[in-house]
């Protein structure tokens, strides 16, 4: 134990030296006119750490001395089993309170209610699962730390020789199996409903919106008056044609570009998801929507927004609230800032907004493609274009 203190001393000296070196470094690194900051430099923290080490060493020493004097006086030394048992109970109580506090305070900071139709089902299942798991969490942790306290070491006692008990083992194999089966069944059907979502016959067609991820932004494409999106090809991507719209396809002529994703409320939206360079992920947490954008593998996610941005602003009490699309698959340095605002609005407002959007077929593109030129010339030029 003495040598332990010596080790601490040695460590402390090393730390002090390191700290000196560190403060030197800190002092030399910033130029003279560096702005003063709250941050006190590494030396300060190293010093605190060294002091804590000393305190720990000294406390350890005191305990050791106390233990020895007790032994000299033929009294019982510190019973560490009791100390640890009590620590377990304290941890259990403090931990449970901490968990409760987290649920109460940070639990209130989580996402607001789902702003999409399918999200409501997800939320229901989430809360069911939460209730079940919290019950299991509390019971098992209480048993774990309770047993530790209750059955802490006592020299006069022996453990209870209990190698197995088939009945109880069967019970706690079957019980979780049943609970999980229920969760699986509900989960499976909800998942099928969410993902098997091609427009059914007779159902009104969804509004197609293309979203294309690239480093580090999202591009949007809305169908124009014909309600259909034109073909795209990655080979056609250029400075003026960001998503590679194929203008040989007549449906593409009125395709619109947009900076903000406007969606009409209570209308089925089919988000067609593309990526140009690496994998991105379209993540719209308020709508419980997420699907990766994979280059070479177009995917789609169909959902129905149910709460307009204005309503949601009232609900969360934040007049500046916006729905957002994030990127949620690591895609490079600016991965953390690939956002796009989503506004859910009433149908009329949506139509008004749509009417103001510019087509992908801009004048510049027309010029590039020689669109205005008479047909025979255009065909000739197209050959060149494709190469």
């Amino acid at each position: 134990m003495l040598s332990l203190l010596a080790a601490f001393l040695l460590l402390g000296t090393n730390m002090l030296m390191a700290q000196d070196a560190a403060t030197d470094a800190a002092a030399t690194a910033p130029s003279g006119d560096a702005t003063p900051s709250v941050w006190l430099g590494p030396g300060y923290y190293v010093l605190i750490f060294v002091i804590i080490c000393f305190v720990v060493g000294i406390v350890g020493k005191i305990l050791r001395v106390y233990d020895l004097t007790q032994q000299i006086q033929n009294k019982k030394p510190i019973n560490w089993h009791n100390v640890m048992g009590i620590c377990c109970i304290i941890f259990l109580v403090a931990g449970m309170y901490g968990a409760y506090w987290e649920f109460a305070v940070q639990g209130a900071m989580i996402l607001p209610e789902s702003a999409s139709a399918h999200g409501v089902k997800i939320d229901e299942m989430f809360w069911t699962t939460t209730v079940l798991t919290v019950i299991v969490f509390v019971i098992t942790q209480v048993l774990l730390f309770g047993f530790l306290f209750r059955y802490r070491y006592n020299a006069n006692r022996r453990g209870h020789f209990l190698p197995h008990n088939n009945t109880i083992e069967k019970v706690w194999t079957i019980a979780p199996a049943i609970v999980l089966t229920i969760l699986v069944i509900f989960g499976f059907f909800t998942w099928q409903q969410i993902t098997n979502s091609l427009d059914a016959k007779g159902e009104q067609a969804s509004i197609n919106v293309d979203i294309t991820g690239h480093q580090f932004a999202w591009e949007l494409r809305y169908p124009g008056t014909d309600g259909r999106l034109g073909e795209t090809s990655y080979k056609l991507v250029s400075g003026t044609n960001k998503v590679g719209v194929d203008f040989k396809d007549k449906f593409s002529y009125d395709d619109l570009q947009a900076d903000t994703m406007y969606l009409p409320v209570r209308k089925s939206i089919r988000l067609n998801i593309h990526a140009q360079d690496v994998i991105h992920s379209v993540y719209m947490p308020h709508f419980r929507v997420q699907l990766n954008a994979v280059p070479g593998l177009p995917t789609f996610f169909k959902f129905t927004p149910t709460i307009t941005t204005a309503e949601m602003r009232r609900k969360v009490g934040d007049p500046k609230f916006e729905y957002l699309v994030y990127c949620n698959k690591i895609c490079g340095a600016a991965h953390y800032n690939m956002q796009k605002v989503v506004r859910v609005v009433e149908e009329s407002e949506y139509q008004a907004w749509l009417a103001q959007q510019k087509p992908y077929l801009t004048d510049q593109v027309k010029k590039d493609l020689k669109f205005a030129v008479t047909k025979p010339a255009a065909t000739q030029n197209r050959l060149a274009l494709n190469n």
């Binding site: 047993f147 209870h160 949620n328 991965h335 953390y336």
Partner: protein, 629 residues
């Protein structure tokens, strides 16, 4: 019937004669190119701890960035140079830190450091073998691992920095050097390092399996093996079956990167120009990666489970509850772990029907995990619990496994995963269930078998301090992350300053960072304890924990061959603690049933009619004797 009267062993030992003569050992053959499993175990441990400390420092660096995204730390520039211009981490390097932290912790610490250390140490010692089936291959395994570690760390020295596409290195990000700086030379080094690592891991695993199957001492049938050995054995099988698939995935990625193939690449536009790749699928890589990646998390947690089971049984002075159920649940986990990988890919664009199937298999795997948890609790029930440091860490492992395991029920549910995928909820989940839990299992093992490794005891009080600070620290770090995840905060974000809605989590991030720094400082208590005890710790007695398993019958001093003379024979299972009627509260595996007539139970004579008859006879004489009295 003492242990010395055993005749020939049923199995052939190549090294039998090693134990009998001490050939001259040089420094090189004893400490460096050692073929002794005990020394190799220590090599794995020390390398593993070193890598863990490095990975921990990396995590503190990026935690500082998350807590203080707008502050400049001049020291950071001093230490990291071009990676932290002006004292602020750059975004690419932040991703590199995250990537290398993950890679080192998952592979180098919790696979090699954990399995490598304890499989090597305990398989021969707990089974009664003089060494591994192939000591030379064992040595190679360590040196491949060491080389892999050096290569991995050397990627910090290349111009553009280490790999930074996340530890899962999904192409195209990792395949296109132009996509991010880390996908250049750093990625190449990552891939080389992993190929070396997998070679190491396979050589180790083949050795473990063949040793367990062929080199058990007399009487040590499979159902008498301690749970540690079961766990290492099944872990090794998992490794053998899963790691080669990652090699396949990695080799194809190397082809895509260096030889112009398009296994994983298709329809890519980079820097405004269309790339020539066609027909590949990035999803293919994810399938190959997670075919290893999911078993990998069980490769990480199963040894920790085995170690905790053993440590908890010894220190509760009680047999592990439901030994057979524990083994069957391990086997169940092993088998099921191969058919659940798709739950990492629910939202990748994989066919949704597959997602449904993977959801079912995933939630099935929760059943054996639940059984294990309940059995651990039942082991503590009415025990006589001795709070050694090892015991505390084993308990911490159980607590983390429960907390982290329960959130797995959310993530395994495909419908819930839609909104939780790649958020901080996932970070919290796996750091508790396989990160903290496995590290605690490993630390339990270090504290428990330190006397076996170094012949000295570690300081228990310092161990207590280490435990409580780390345990509380880990909960403080990871518990709040769940709520961030539920607010839809994505992982691997360099800063949360760009999103108005994420700014309110900044104070939580600062709190988490300080908790992490506290937990990291607590590791100094461990390192001091470890290094100090190695040289100056209190000398150990042969069986300091009064445990039953075979390693405590081996002499304290180390020599190649483990036991002088005959290898002891095993007569009973390893968990006869507090058996009623026995003199002491433990009966080592080497004590024959004939010496413990007073404590034998009819159950001890399953498959042994002669023994049962003898037991019945003895019991009836006992009875009549009492009547006479």
């Amino acid at each position: 019937m003492s242990t010395l009267s055993v005749q020939d062993h049923g199995v052939v030992h190549h090294e039998d004669d090693h134990g009998h003569h001490h050939h001259k050992e040089t420094f090189l053959s004893k400490y460096i190119f050692s073929q002794d499993h005990k020394m190799i175990a220590k090599q794995f441990l020390v390398t593993g701890i070193t890598m863990a400390v490095i990975a921990m420092i990396l995590s503190i660096l990026f935690r500082i960035q998350l807590a203080y995204p707008d502050k400049a730390f001049p020291l950071m520039e001093t230490l990291l140079g071009r990676f932290a211009p002006g004292g602020r981490l750059n975004a690419d390097f932040y991703l590199a830190l995250v990537t290398i932290h993950g890679t080192i912790m998952v592979f180098f610490v919790l696979t090699a450091g954990l399995s490598g250390t304890f499989s090597n140490l305990l398989i021969p010692l707990q089974l009664g073998a003089r060494d591994m089936a192939s000591p030379f291959m064992n040595m190679l395994s360590y040196w491949f691992f060491f080389t892999a570690s050096v290569v991995m760390l050397s990627s910090f020295l290349v111009q553009k920095g280490p790999a930074s596409g996340g530890w899962t290195i999904y192409p195209p990000l990792s395949a296109l050097p132009k996509a991010m700086p880390g996908s250049g030379m750093g990625m190449t080094l990552w891939l080389i390092s992993m190929v070396l690592f997998i070679a190491s891991s396979l050589m180790g695993a083949i050795n473990y399996v063949s040793t367990v199957l062929n080199m058990r001492t007399k009487g040590m049938d499979l159902w008498k093996m301690p749970l540690t050995i079961w766990a290492f054995f099944l872990t090794a099988i998992l490794g053998i079956l899963a790691f080669p698939v990652l090699v396949a995935g990695v080799v194809l990625l190397i082809f895509d990167r260096s030889f112009g193939t398009s296994f994983y690449l298709s329809e890519i536009v980079l820097g405004g120009s269309a790339q020539p790749f066609e027909g590949g699928s990035p999803i293919l890589f994810q399938h190959l990666f997670w075919f290893l990646g999911h078993p990998e998390v069980y490769i990480v947690i199963m040894p920790a489970m085995g170690i905790s089971s053993e440590v908890m049984s010894v220190n509760s002075r009680k047999p592990i509850f439901g030994y057979h159920a524990m083994v069957y649940s391990l086997i169940g986990i092993t088998v099921l772990s191969f058919i659940v990988w798709g739950h990492h890919m629910f939202v990748t664009g994989m066919n949704p029907f597959l997602g449904g199937v993977f959801m079912i298999t995933t939630l099935i795997i929760a059943v054996p995990s639940a059984v294990k948890t309940f059995n651990w609790l039942a082991t503590l029930w009415r025990g006589n619990i001795r709070f050694t440091s090892a015991m505390l860490f084993a308990i911490g492992m159980v607590s983390f496994f429960i907390s982290g395991g329960l959130t797995g029920i959310f993530l395994g549910n495909a419908a819930l995963d839609i909104n939780l995928h790649d958020t901080y909820f996932v970070v919290a989940h796996f750091h508790l269930v396989m990160g903290s839990a496995a590290i605690f299992g490993m630390l339990a093992g270090v504290y428990h078998w330190f006397p076996k490794m170094y012949g000295r005891m570690m300081n228990e009080k310092l161990g207590y301090l280490h435990f409580w600070l780390t345990f509380i620290g880990a909960y403080l770090v990871f518990f709040p992350m769940h709520f961030m995840g539920l607010d839809g905060v994505p992982r691997r974000y360099y800063a949360f300053t760009e999103f108005e809605s994420m700014k309110r989590w900044l104070s939580v991030n600062t709190f988490i960072t300080w908790a992490a720094i506290m937990a990291a400082c607590a590791q100094v208590a461990f390192l001091v304890n470890f290094i100090y005890s190695m040289f100056w710790g209190k000398k150990t007695v042969q069986n300091p924990w009064e445990a039953n398993t075979l390693e405590w019958t081996a002499p304290i001093e180390h020599f190649h061959g483990n036991w002088h003379g005959e290898i002891p024979t095993v007569y009973r299972w390893p968990y006869d603690y507090s058996k009623p009627g026995a003199e002491e509260d433990f009966i080592p595996q080497t004590v024959p049933l004939s010496q413990t007539m007073s404590s034998n139970l009819p159950h001890d004579f399953e498959d042994n009619p002669a023994g049962l008859e003898a037991h019945a006879k003895w019991a009836s004489t006992q009875k009549s004797n009492e009547e006479v009295k």
